[in-house]
């Protein structure tokens, strides 16, 4: 159908011609449109308290204490169950967040502007590994780290970014792909490149050497620091492709630990939801599948723009880390995702695959036709709140989301 091909060409062109730039770090209250006190944004499609998984509930009680909306975790849980807080998906507020994906008014947000189209997207700062809120952590150590990010680190990072006039992200991704990152489960190179780009400006703008030293060490000690930047970048790029009549290109894939949700350009902001699947992967010593929480987080936004599982061929080390097979198998994931996408990126290429461009623009028609579900690289959270990451693996987007989306899309197109 020619109208669909034209609409998809436009959607993919908007993704590929996006120019995402990290421009600032600002309190969510000041930059996220419509965000208010008492509102808690979470990863994935809409969900109510009763259906939330353990880590999500743990993060919500923690963030309520952090914001001063509850005296302690028990009080927060009672208030959440009583309906005292408003829960909304990050995606409804131009935001994304990894794993539980907590976004509230006083958190410092990475601000990425898509300079081609003028839209902005936001993501909180990556907290590091171990016991962190994105995996449901909510004790004093977790909350103290969030306060430090809010009071010291966020302002220091934002000052450096502004001093530099922003950080252009497309080049960093291009270089990261040549250095073995796929920007979901491996961000070692891009985190290092970001530190290299911002450290001089952080020193230049620092007012307190102790804060500077701790801030530099924080970035240097977190291989996944760049993930949240990549996610805000991805959101800014796919938002530019939203709402194109006749387009069957996916604009969001996201999970809340209970449901997996997909949104498609040509069907507006409707979610197509199915039960989320369990990741298959490798577990850290002492943990097993019995400990794992179902798949969770807005981080599949990176697959939506051709990175993560779609760029596995760039990152043989990740194929081993997530239990996806040998180094030579890594390229097969990328080739398979080429079967369900509309284009190859001309700028983000994989040297080990003869500079193949990463597969970009998931077409729901191709997903349903081939039966190939999008492959997502993911961290695995413990099913109990507060323990943290217990492994890493690969998860498939549920095919049911795409069959639902196809039916709704056909209806919109007047096809039955």
């Amino acid at each position: 159908m020619e109208a669909i091909e034209k609409a998809n060409a436009l959607a993919v062109e908007r993704i590929l011609t996006s120019d995402p730039v990290l421009i600032d770090v600002m309190p969510a209250r000041d930059v996220v449109p419509g965000l208010k006190d008492g509102m808690i944004l979470h990863a994935g499609p809409p969900i109510e308290w009763d259906r939330m998984c353990g880590p999500m509930k743990g993060a919500i009680t923690g963030i309520a204490v952090y914001e001063g909306w509850a005296s302690d975790l028990a009080d927060a849980e009672a208030k959440a169950a009583a309906g005292d807080f408003e829960f909304h998906p990050n995606h409804h507020f131009d935001c994304v967040g990894p794993m539980t994906g907590m976004t509230t008014v006083s958190q410092p947000m990475l601000v990425v502007e898509n300079r081609t189209f003028g839209n902005r997207a936001y993501c909180a700062i990556n907290e590091g590994l171990g016991k962190v809120m994105r995996f449901g952590g909510n004790d004093a150590e977790v909350l103290d780290r969030l306060r430090w990010l809010r009071d010291d680190f966020g302002p220091a990072l934002g000052g450096a970014i502004r001093h530099n006039g922003g950080l252009e992200l497309k080049n960093i991704i291009a270089r990261g792909l040549t250095m073995g990152d796929e920007m979901h489960q491996r961000n070692v190179a891009c985190s290092g490149l970001t530190l290299r780009a911002l450290a001089p400006a952080m020193a230049e703008t620092a007012t307190d050497n102790a804060v500077l030293a701790k801030a530099l060490a924080f970035i240097a000690g977190n291989d996944q620091f760049f993930l949240n930047i990549a996610m805000a970048m991805g959101k800014s790029m796919t938002d530019a492709a939203r709402g194109i009549d006749g387009s069957s290109i996916v604009t969001s894939m996201s999970r809340n630990g209970t449901d997996f949700g997909v949104r498609v350009s040509g069907t507006g902001d409707q979610w197509f939801v199915a039960p989320v699947e369990m990741p298959e992967g490798l577990y850290f010593p002492g943990y097993s599948e019995a400990d794992a929480n179902p798949d969770m987080g807005d981080s599949a936004i990176v697959e939506t723009i051709g990175l993560g599982g779609f760029a596995m061929g760039a990152s043989p080390a990740v194929a081993g880390f997530v239990g996806a097979g040998s180094a030579s198998d890594a390229g097969n994931f990328t080739r398979a995702m080429g079967e369900i996408t509309a284009a190859e990126s001309p700028e983000w290429t994989i040297p080990a695959m003869d500079y193949l461009g990463v597969p970009t623009g998931i077409d729901i028609r191709l997903v349903v036709d081939t039966g190939l579900a999008p492959t997502i690289n993911t961290g695995i959270a413990h099913r109990k709140p507060g323990i943290g990451q217990v492994g890493a693996g690969v998860v498939k987007a549920p095919m049911e989301c795409f069959t639902q989306a196809l039916a709704a899309f056909a209806d919109r197109m007047g096809v039955s």
Binding site: E5, R365, G371, T403, A410, V415
Partner: protein, 58 residues
């Protein structure tokens, strides 16, 4: 049986198996060289979805 068929079966068999992996596995177990092609019916064989896909130009 035609000469062509006789010639085909006289030498080592060359097999390309499309779809069901069980056939490939059985032949491989008997040391027959097989090239496996991953294939499944459009839309997993669901006729309604296949019809929609056809109308949507997939």
């Amino acid at each position: 049986m035609s000469d062509a068929i006789k010639d085909l079966l006289a030498g080592p068999v060359k097999v390309v198996n499309i779809g069901l992996e069980g056939f490939e596995a059985e032949l491989s177990a008997q040391d027959v060289e097989v090239v496996q092609v991953d294939w499944s019916p459009p839309a997993g064989g669901d006729p309604k979805l296949a019809d929609l896909l056809s109308k949507l130009g997939a």
